[in-house]
């Protein structure tokens, strides 16, 4: 008996130490903002691609379905990325807006699959031997819900054939939640859709959260009353049954003692 207890104790200590080591090893890697969800999504390998270089820009319009747009991804088909040159991303309110909401720039040889991504899309759907989704973040755009945006990629200084290819779908049916969108090449609309995803975050505090949940619950008051009453009845029934079982046990123990 003692031996078993010691083995169980050692097992617990072993498991607890593994857990502590794991927690310590990931603590620094966990981002400050842990909240992230996929809004517009696409999976799989798009069959076509378009090259972005000094003479070709490629853009796409879309409508964000939620607030706080803060991350996007673009599908990079398998290709030689060991090149000089840069890829630039521009996000605007619309195609004709002069100002960028977000501007990002990477060296092409820095573009690679982020294997330890915290904000994972369904991981089994990331096919990395035929290409990958390149994720990039920017400060959250508040009030982005139901607003149209336009983003485009350019690659100044790279000649034809030396740019970077981006994945392209020919049909909207490969997307989730892409309600509206047009693909542009050099600012002219063309058929197809860039293989992109958008991600949003949640910004708030517990009291706002509770208020918002309350508002949603109160949208159907008659049901809420019926539901709470049902829960109350079942809970009361459970408590009464537990009390009766305890009383019965007590009586049995008492009878045994008397016996």
């Amino acid at each position: 008996m003692k031996k078993t207890k010691i083995i169980v104790l050692i097992g617990h200590i072993f498991l607890a130490s593994i857990l502590i080591v794991l927690v310590i090893s990931i603590m620094k890697k966990v981002p400050n903002n842990i909240f992230c969800f996929l809004d517009i999504g696409t999976y799989g390998v798009p069959p076509e691609s378009i090259e972005v270089n000094m003479s070709n820009t490629c853009g796409q319009s879309f409508v964000s379905n939620f607030d706080n747009l803060f991350m996007m991804s673009i599908f990079i088909p398998s290709q030689n990325l060991a090149k000089d040159g840069h890829l630039c991303f521009h996000l605007k309110k619309n195609k004709d807006d002069q100002n960028d909401l977000v501007t990002l720039k990477w060296r092409i040889n820095e573009i690679r699959f982020l294997s330890n991504n915290f904000y994972i899309a369904p991981p089994d759907r990331e096919i990395t031997d035929k290409g990958f989704h390149f994720h990039f973040q920017f400060p959250p755009i508040r009030n982005s819900k139901n607003k149209e945006f336009y983003f485009y990629f350019d690659s100044p200084g790279t000649r034809q054939g030396e740019g970077i290819k981006l994945g392209l779908w020919d049909n909207r049916q490969y997307y989730e939640a892409l309600t509206k969108g047009t693909l542009y090449k050099n600012n002219k609309p063309i058929n197809g859709f860039l293989a992109f995803r958008t991600y949003n975050t949640w910004i708030g505090n517990p009291s706002i959260l509770m208020d918002e949940i309350k508002i949603r619950l109160l949208k159907d008051r008659p049901f809420l009353i019926f539901y709470c009453a049902s829960l109350f009845i079942i809970l009361t029934g459970t408590i009464i049954t537990c009390i009766k079982i305890n009383n019965l046990k007590g009586n049995l123990t008492w009878k045994k003692t008397l016996h």
């Binding site: 794991l22 992230c36 969800f37 379905n65 330890n116 997307y175 939640a177 975050t201 079982i245």
Partner: protein, 428 residues
């Protein structure tokens, strides 16, 4: 029955009901539950009579289809019952259809756009058929295990807290508990020596999703005492399975049969392995003893083995696994070591098949779409240490290994049922 036993039974029933009610109105997954109920509702409204014809003419997506006709009839009945309590259902399904057919919404989209259409009560009422089947299964477990109260209470406790059912049925809103009910009902019929009712239940189960059809040949071998009787049972099974298809065949010709090609998405190699293994299992069943055979044990062995083999080599999803859970509980009640397999199946399958956000916190998006959909999942943390793809591969291999091991273990446990069993050899 003793008063203490009845009270204990009531207590666990109420606890089970409470847990289920807490989940029912607030959770769903993607379009699943709305899709199940969409065509029956359209039928009641008089807008659309044949889902298969509509899909074949209007939906271009090759994998889009509706469930088999028994699902349609069943949910038609429940829609008819619950319609008076759901006055905004028309608006809800109009919005749902616009999103589903045009833009393929996800859980978070539906939680966001359907909240003004009595989303909570729609989810609640849509899951009541599941609750009924859940209680029927609990009752059947009681009927099967009532001779040993201790075994029954352990089985009941596991059933009440069954994570597969709570997750796939109440949280995600899938209908697989109805199939599980038909399978275990069929097993009860075997125990009660009612072969035609047993076949009837399995055929009806296959009328919801086609897979239970693979259990019927095993049952024919076990229940039929002669080839003539087996043939009669097979004709009866075919009639029960095909009859619900008839109205749709008359209406839309072969559109309803498009359903049978859906599993072509599975790799052909896996399909071939399954066919070979399945045939081998049926051949083994042919060597069951003809005299003094316990058909209940034989049926339980064959159902569990065939389904486990199907999951291991062909296709496993959490919702499909619900079909086997009542059978695994009965098997584990008979041999405690099988609880260990159940725990392994639980760990491997949940890590493998409940990895995405919409299968974890995300299914509570109805309460607050942005917050619940954005909570990090277990894999987010694991992915910081190791690519979760490798963890999933390990889990899948573990699942296959333990499924096959359990089949072997079951075979050894039930060796006395066979003509060539080791026990017989030893006796000789």
């Amino acid at each position: 029955m003793e008063q203490a036993v009845i009270l204990k039974l009531i207590k666990w029933t109420l606890i089970g009901l409470l847990i289920r009610l807490l989940i029912m109105p607030f959770s769903f997954h993607g379009s699943d539950i709305f899709w199940i109920n969409y065509f029956p509702f359209q039928f009641i409204e008089g807008k659309l009579f044949d889902p298969y014809l509509y899909i074949s003419e209007n939906v271009t997506d090759a994998y889009s289809s509706y469930y088999l006709p028994v699902t349609f009839y069943l949910f038609l009945f429940f829609q008819f019952l619950f319609k008076p309590f759901l006055p905004k259902l028309n608006g809800l399904y109009s919005i749902f259809a616009s999103w589903h057919f045009k833009w393929e919404g996800n859980t978070i989209n539906y939680a966001d756009i359907l909240i003004d259409q009595q989303l909570f009560r729609t989810l609640f009422f849509s899951k009541i058929p599941y609750l009924i089947c859940d209680f029927v299964i609990g009752f059947i477990l009681f009927q099967i295990l009532k001779e040993d109260k201790k075994k029954f209470f352990i089985a009941l406790l596991v059933w009440v807290l069954n994570p597969f059912v709570l997750h796939s049925i109440y949280a995600l809103g899938q209908l697989d508990i109805i199939i599980a009910m038909f399978i275990i009902l069929s097993l009860l019929a075997v125990k009660s020596d009612k072969p035609y009712f047993s076949i009837f239940c399995l055929s009806l189960g296959a009328g919801l999703k086609i897979v239970p059809l693979i259990l019927i040949p095993a049952l024919l071998i076990i229940l039929g005492k002669s080839w003539r009787e087996r043939f009669k049972l097979a004709v009866f099974a075919a009639a029960i399975f095909l009859l619900p298809l008839l109205p749709f065949f008359l209406s839309s010709k072969f559109a309803v049969f498009k359903l049978f090609g859906l599993h072509e998405i599975i790799m052909p190699m896996r399909r071939n392995i399954f066919i070979i293994g399945y045939t081998f299992l049926l051949v083994i069943l042919y060597f069951l003893k003809r005299q003094n055979l316990d058909p209940f044990r034989a049926a339980l062995f064959s159902f569990v083995s065939i389904l486990l083999f199907y999951y291991a080599v062909y296709d496993v999803r959490l919702r499909f696994f619900v079909w086997i859970t009542p059978l695994l509980i009965i098997a584990a009640s008979q041999n405690k070591i099988f609880w260990l397999y159940n725990i392994i199946f639980f760990i491997t399958l949940f890590e493998l098949r409940a990895a995405g956000s919409t299968q974890q916190w995300g299914f509570f998006a109805a309460l607050h779409p942005e917050f619940f959909s954005s909570l990090p999942v277990m894999d987010s943390y694991l992915n910081l240490i190791i690519n979760v793809k490798y963890i999933h591969q390990v889990m899948y291999r573990l699942f296959i290994f333990f499924s096959l091991t359990m089949i072997m273990h079951l075979f050894i446990d039930n060796r006395d049922l066979f003509r060539f069993s080791f026990a017989n050899l030893r006796k000789r």
